[in-house]
């Protein structure tokens, strides 16, 4: 692919760079590992000093994350033996499980809003990028700059106007409102990244399809889309990561119905004392989808990051 050649690195240089990379990876992974371990600690272990690296694992944090519990009298506890392993865990504090917590529903909100806005960003972004890439659009460069310029300030700078707008439009605390908001933030990234990927696909393919008897739109989805798949995948991950992790707007604009996981997880601290294992369990589960996605698509993602830096 690349036309330039790089001199072969020596074994020693490889060894040194390898060590540095592993060291860096270990350092950056410590908080992540710490969170995951804390999720399996008992509350006492989670705040012990010095911190425990070896400890007896328990699912207490996960049980607390997914349930609401109340303290009960000794008579009640004796009259109602524990039903399952989760009950056993909470019994040690003389508590019983009275129902599910809100975490499941908040997590689902994150899924709906995260994937919904990613889908919408990619859908609109692909069509816009294709148009910018292929058609002669008046003032195309200015429009592209305008689209990019929406990224030049931190989105939270317009928090108050958006808050007021959402209230007047009835979008506050709705899934639709959050999907639209995250799409608006992500669309500029999607258009620019996807335009780059589509620019790389030679026009001759579509022209051949047009002559072969297909319409412009059919040529687009039969010939361009399959070839843009890797670009679309990597763009989708970037959009998903943003929408999934977004905290500030979620705090400001959502509460009872459409609240996503990021603003919810810290509130666990307030339910029945400082329950760090439950918070850590929430954070771990919250991390998983994006982690799995990123690992599955890491090859495309890398191409997305280095995109533009490498000339073919």
């Amino acid at each position: 692919m690349s036309s330039f050649s790089v001199t072969e690195t020596s074994a020693r240089a490889k060894w040194i760079s390898g060590t540095l990379v592993i060291l860096y990876a270990l350092i950056t992974m410590i908080p992540l590992v710490w969170i995951m371990l804390t999720g399996f600690k008992s509350p006492a272990d989670s705040i012990s000093y010095p911190p425990k690296v070896v400890f007896e694992p328990t699912l207490e944090g996960y049980v607390n994350l997914f349930t609401t519990r109340t303290r009960q009298t000794q008579e009640y506890l004796e009259a109602n033996p524990p039903q399952n392993w989760a009950d056993e865990i909470v019994r040690q504090y003389d508590m019983v499980i009275v129902g599910p917590s809100k975490f499941g529903q908040r997590f689902m909100n994150s899924v709906i809003i995260g994937f919904g806005s990613t889908f919408l960003s990619i859908f609109l972004g692909t069509l816009a990028a294709y148009a910018f890439s292929r058609f002669r659009i008046p003032l195309a460069d200015d429009l592209l700059f305008f689209i990019l310029s929406t990224r030049m300030m931190p989105p939270i700078a317009v928090a108050i106007p958006i808050f007021l707008m959402f209230r007047n439009l009835g979008l506050s605390d709705t899934h639709l409102g959050m999907i639209l908001l995250y799409t608006a933030v992500n669309i500029s990234l999607a258009v620019w990244l996807l335009k780059g990927f589509i620019d790389e696909i030679p026009r001759e393919y579509e022209e051949a399809a047009l002559i072969d008897g297909y319409t412009r739109f059919q040529a687009f989805y039969k010939v361009v889309l399959p070839q843009a798949a890797t670009g679309i995948a990597s763009t989708a991950i970037f959009c998903l990561i943003f929408a999934w992790n977004e905290y500030a707007f979620a705090v400001l604009l959502t509460s009872a119905t459409a609240q996503t996981a990021p603003p919810f997880i810290p509130t666990i601290i307030g339910i029945g004392g400082l329950d760090w294992p439950a918070v850590a369990a929430g954070a771990t589960i919250f991390l998983l989808p994006v982690m799995v996605f990123t690992i599955l698509l890491r090859k495309h993602l890398l191409r997305g990051i280095t995109f533009g830096a490498v000339r073919k």
């Binding site: 001759e204 022209e207 072969d212 008897g213 399959p226």
Partner: protein
């Protein structure tokens, strides 16, 4: 198959006039070759006929129908691109079947399979049908893209230097094959090239393009024997025609510049020229001469040896005369 007519066709890209006021009739069943150097407007002409570019002026008729406002799909043309034309995410088989499966043709699958097999046989690629398009050599790719045009039976085939990326042997084979297929099917074909051998061997008609203008149109023989300008004369013939000041040969002449095809130089009498070099090509020998500071190329008997610096007398035979600007006078 159909007749294709261009009437006063023009196309400009920004400041460059790619095609200027071009008129041409491509008769039904003709094999027309457009000849010209890079930038002469050959590819643009194809793209205008196919509908990939919009006309600035003029009309294009395919089978008597004005196609100015039709999409490429509606025009019923097949095109072979110079490069990049195979769909990389599809197999060879799907590439060949792609035009047949279009919403316009909607060929039944049994028919698709039959036609694809037939074309694969002609192009000698049946064993490659299940390969991915990207797993082919350059020659195979180009054969598949020619095949993708040939599976159809369009009003006209448009080919943009389809053989230019192939090696000499394959090029010669496909040239004959293409001519045979065109003859068998009786198809109308417009073929763009800068290779004069392709033009001379395959064409029923040759059109010579110069800076977006069609400067001459006729049978290969007409264009070769009766060129209208130095430019046209230089496009056909190998070795190239010698263009010299007429007074070099003395006597009466009919214009300031004389054009001598290598085979139109008589040896034995006339003005003296010095032999620089003789090239023995087997079937012929090319003699490179120097005539009062001008270089002249001629052909000679393959069995004679010529020592450098020998003096040879030459005189024109059936010369062509051009004016100072290069236009044909006689």
């Amino acid at each position: 198959m159909a007749e294709v007519v261009l009437e006063g066709v023009s196309k400009r890209f920004g400041d460059t006039e790619a095609v200027r006021d071009m008129s041409m009739v491509i008769p039904d069943g003709a094999f027309v070759v457009l000849l010209g150097p890079t930038g002469a407007g050959k590819t643009t002409t194809l793209r205008l006929i196919s509908g990939l570019e919009k006309l600035d002026a003029g009309r294009i008729k395919i089978g008597g129908r004005d196609v100015g406002n039709e999409t490429p799909a509606q025009r019923d043309v097949a095109m072979v691109f110079q490069q990049y034309s195979l769909y990389p995410h599809m197999s060879v088989r799907d590439n060949l079947a792609f035009p047949l499966r279009s919403p316009i043709l909607k060929t039944p699958e049994a028919e698709v399979a039959r036609k694809v097999a037939e074309i694969a046989e002609i192009l000698q690629i049946p064993h490659k049908l299940d390969n991915k398009a990207t797993e082919l050599s350059g020659g195979e790719m180009q054969r598949v893209s020619i095949g993708r045009a040939l599976v159809r039976d369009p009003a006209i085939y448009l080919m943009d230097e389809p053989l230019s990326s192939l090696d000499a042997k394959l090029r010669a084979d496909l040239r004959i094959e293409l001519k045979r297929i065109q003859g068998d099917l009786g198809s109308t074909l417009l073929y763009v090239t800068h290779d004069q051998i392709e033009a001379m061997t395959m064409a029923t008609h040759v059109g010579v393009l110069q800076e977006g203008e069609l400067v001459q149109f006729g049978t290969p023989r007409e264009v070769y024997e009766n060129p209208q300008s130095v430019y046209v004369a230089s496009r056909l013939g190998q070795p190239r025609i010698n263009i010299l000041p007429s007074e070099l040969f003395g006597g009466a002449h009919k214009g300031p510049q004389i054009g001598l095809r290598p085979e139109h130089i008589r040896q034995g009498d006339g003005v003296e020229a010095r032999i620089i070099r003789a090239e023995h090509l087997g079937d012929q020998t090319r003699l490179h001469l120097e005539l009062q500071g001008y270089s002249v190329t001629t052909l000679t008997d393959p069995h004679t040896d010529y020592a450098p610096d020998t003096i040879l007398k030459i005189s024109p035979q059936d010369p062509l005369y051009f004016d100072a600007a290069g236009a044909r006078i006689f």
